[in-house]
């Protein structure tokens, strides 16, 4: 598993499968979220509003709990990227093998980000 922020590549090798991703930056540098041209990133902010489901094995009362990733998006640095993704060997389970592309700066897009993250402990779901 390797994240190379100089070459803009990311790879995963697991058993017989692999993921190979390359990203083409659409801006020369990361810019603050809210800068001109970053409005489409708001779809990622929206997606992170809701909590995620956790299944702590030693929970005494409720098997299913929740947790949240709380990002400091107001101080995040981002830039849109074009993505080329290759999935081999069933490594992403029911996600089909194949080549996928994503033209970065759109609501269904691809972005590079640098942000502070707080991951909460588990709590009872709302």
């Amino acid at each position: 598993m390797d994240a190379d922020f100089q070459l803009n590549t990311y790879s995963i090798l697991y058993k017989q499968g692999s993921v190979e991703v390359s990203f083409e930056p659409l801006l020369p540098t990361l810019v603050p979220f809210g800068s001109p041209g970053t409005a489409n990133f708001s779809s990622f902010v929206d997606a992170n509003v809701s909590p995620w489901l956790a299944f702590p094995p030693f929970s005494l009362f409720h098997r299913t709990q929740c947790a949240s990733n709380i990002y400091n998006f107001t101080e995040a640095y981002i830039r849109p990227v074009n993505m080329t993704l290759q999935i081999n060997g069933g490594i992403l389970q029911s996600i089909p093998n194949g080549n996928y592309t994503n033209a970065g700066n759109q609501p269904l897009g691809a972005w590079q980000i640098d942000v502070h993250t707080r991951i909460t402990s588990t709590y009872n779901c709302p």
């Binding site: 994240a3 997606a47 489901l53 299944f55 993704l85 759109q106 942000v115 993250t117 402990s121």
Partner: protein, 140 residues
Amino acid sequence: MSIKVFLLFCLISTSNSDINCRTTAWWVLQPFLKSDLQPFISQSGEDLTFNSSNPLANYMNSDEYPVYFEFNQQNRCEESSLPPFVANLTQQTFAEFKLEIPYLIRKNKTFMLKPLVYQNSSLNVEATRLVYGLPTYLVS
């Protein structure tokens, strides 16, 4: 090995506290067929349904649904409840991939499902499984 056990103990014993990280990453929202995603939902054992009026529905076909890929490098992750010296000692930096399905409906509320996680730290794989119960696998 004893250090690893100590670190794991620290992480699990402080599972009621938050974790602070600096995330450098690429994030992607990509549409996939709902039929490809249904196995993840079924495996969760939860009564989850696709939200057909999710905010991204207008950007894809009706038989598709957004998947959120996180290609992360988590830097200097620390438990917030530990004394600074111990937090610094147990600090973790690692790569992780997360496959997520957002905007799912459960009991009329919206949730995200994380059905697949890869990490390159055995310590964090164990902690993620024990603290959050996520299906997490170690890759070198």
